[in-house]
């Protein structure tokens, strides 16, 4: 087998594994928030997950506080920029 192909396969497998692990962590281990449910925050974030490496990096940034806490760092909430709602009013008629 071509060693180059095999290395690419390994890299691809590693990337796939890390995405699966990140997904698993998000889907299973991340605790739920007990607040008002934003109508489509999940929908937007899933698309980030589907967007590939860049999107996953953004997701990781969103989880950064939690990841730091996992390794013993203390909380320091980052202020968020205001944004408009994600679900637009619609009639569908």
């Amino acid at each position: 087998m071509n060693p180059r192909t095999s290395r690419r396969d390994t890299e691809r497998a590693m990337l796939a594994t890390s995405i699966v692990l990140a997904t698993w962590w998000v889907a299973v281990l991340a605790p739920d928030a007990e607040a008002y449910i934003d109508p489509s925050a999940g929908g937007m974030l899933v698309q980030l997950l589907l967007a590939g490496t860049a999107g996953v990096a953004v997701l990781v940034r969103l989880f950064w506080v939690r990841i730091k806490r996992l390794f013993g760092a203390s909380d320091s909430a980052e202020p968020g920029a205001p944004s408009s709602g994600t679900d637009r009013p619609h009639d569908g008629v």
């Binding site: 999940g42 974030l45 899933v46 969103l62």
Partner: protein, 459 residues
């Protein structure tokens, strides 16, 4: 004073109203500019040629006999579709085709730099068995690098109900009815077990989306910032739409129900069927209806017979599997409208002020009604008194054919076997007297067995 459609108030782009048999949409300045640009780009023509979009023209309100002060100088005009049905009245294949149509429209829009800003099932109406995109204001220019804002709604309106129907054989219609055409991500996620996460589409679109939604419930600002920070390439959006399409195409049909095999297991033979067909065909010739309501259509045998006579047909049945069979057997027929509905509990009006989406009986009107092998089900299984049944049937259309199936019939015997016989009015004499009190009886024909066909005319 223009009376706007009670379902058009949310979208600031425009409102909908009817005038002289046509549909009009008012346009905000932005929506008007967007439509004109999209039309110049060839997008509208492409969507119309592909049969996706209901033909839409820009008209001057004054030329249409409308007040510009009230509805604006320019308006969008569309033809009105004969029968409106909602996603909670569609079978699996209908919902799937409406989903495909939405994705197909989105792909064409993306290629021209546009996007569908929402993805509710109410954007799609069926013209017979052809789904059409009707909500023109849903099309708007795409902001470069943006995610598809309609994705989550597409999941709630199309993907979740399709996954639940296909994987769990769960009828999504009650959930769609209760949720104004959408199933919330929480309800979808709770309906799937652990093992379902390994089935295509469930882990990411349902489980992960729900977890992310709950996890980031209180951090909408962060999510907005994160989404804005990434330039989502158009190729990624195309790939996402392609994946959704592949997922939806690959879903196995839900299991059938007892009604789909009804034609095979029913209690009369080929001779009886032929006699009944001949009699119904003669009646249709006499009544010459423009529009027929075939109630309890089963797999659509008589709906197709009426269709061959030249009438437009609305075929109603309580069984989603039967309506799916009716739908799949007549692809591309703009004159046959299949509807899943139980006449003992017809679809209510729902939404804002209880008038946003209309009740079935307000939408169901015809020139002739066919009620073949239906009355005994309504009377015995449904518990509806015969007088009420006939009020409904003769009220829906001025003429019609009603089949009487009496107590001697093996099916009726089976229905009565496990319940106390409290159906005193269930006799042929009572039936005839009640029908005569409501309409002129134009036909009284005996079929093999103990069945009778009655024609009525109340004009």
């Amino acid at each position: 004073m223009t009376e706007f459609d009670p379902a058009s108030f949310r979208d600031p782009s425009g409102r909908l109203f009817r005038h002289a048999g046509a549909l009009y949409r008012t346009c905000s300045p932005e929506a008007l500019a967007s439509f004109v640009r999209a039309r110049e780009s060839g997008l509208m023509a492409e969507l119309e040629t592909a049969g996706i979009l209901v033909p839409t023209t820009l008209v001057e309100s004054a030329a249409e006999g409308l007040s510009p002060a009230e509805v604006g100088q320019q308006l969008l005009k569309q033809r009105e579709l004969a029968m409106v049905s909602y996603s909670y009245e569609w079978s699996f294949s209908m919902l799937r085709d409406a989903a495909r149509l939405t994705l197909g429209a989105l792909e064409i829009c993306l290629a021209k730099g546009y996007v569908l800003k929402d993805a509710t099932s109410f954007n799609v109406l069926f013209e017979g068995t052809m789904p059409r995109l009707v909500d023109i204001h849903s099309i708007e220019p795409r902001v470069e690098g943006s995610l598809w804002a309609g994705y989550a709604q597409f999941c709630r309106a199309f993907l979740f109900p399709l996954l639940l129907a296909s994987y769990k054989s769960l009828d999504p219609r009650p959930l769609l009815l209760g949720g104004l055409g959408e199933i919330p991500v929480n309800e979808a996620a709770r309906s799937f077990g652990w093992r379902d996460r390994f089935r295509p589409g469930v882990l990411v679109n349902v489980a992960v989306q729900q977890k992310l939604e709950r996890r980031f419930a209180g951090r909408a600002e962060d999510v907005g910032k994160a989404a804005a920070s990434i330039k989502y390439p158009i190729s990624a959006l195309h790939a996402q739409v392609g994946k959704l399409r592949k997922l939806i195409d690959g879903l196995p049909l839900p299991q059938g129900d007892a009604w789909t095999s009804y034609t095979a297991t029913r209690t009369y033979d080929d001779e009886g069927t032929r006699a009944k067909e001949a009699c119904v065909a003669r009646s249709l010739e006499e009544m010459a209806p423009g529009r027929v309501l075939d109630l309890g259509t089963n797999t659509g045998q008589f709906a197709r017979l009426a269709r061959r006579s030249g009438a437009r047909v609305v075929a109603v049945d309580l069984s989603p599997a039967c309506i799916d069979a009716v739908y799949c057997e007549s692809p591309g027929d703009v004159g046959l409208s299949p509807v899943v509905a139980d006449l003992t509990k017809p679809t209510p009006a729902i939404g804002w002020r209880n008038i946003e989406r209309r009740a079935l009986l307000d939408r169901l009107r015809g020139d002739s009604v066919l009620a073949l092998a239906l009355v005994h089900h309504l009377r015995i299984t449904g518990g509806i008194p015969l007088a009420e049944v006939l009020d409904l049937l003769t009220g829906l259309a001025p003429t019609g054919v009603i089949e009487w199936v009496g107590r001697e019939d093996p099916m009726v015997k089976r229905m009565l076997a496990l319940r106390p016989d409290v159906y005193e009015d269930f006799t042929r004499e009572t039936f005839e007297a009640l029908l005569q009190a409501r309409a002129r009886v134009t036909r009284r024909e005996a079929l093999p067995g103990s069945r009778m066909l009655y024609g009525f005319d109340r004009r």
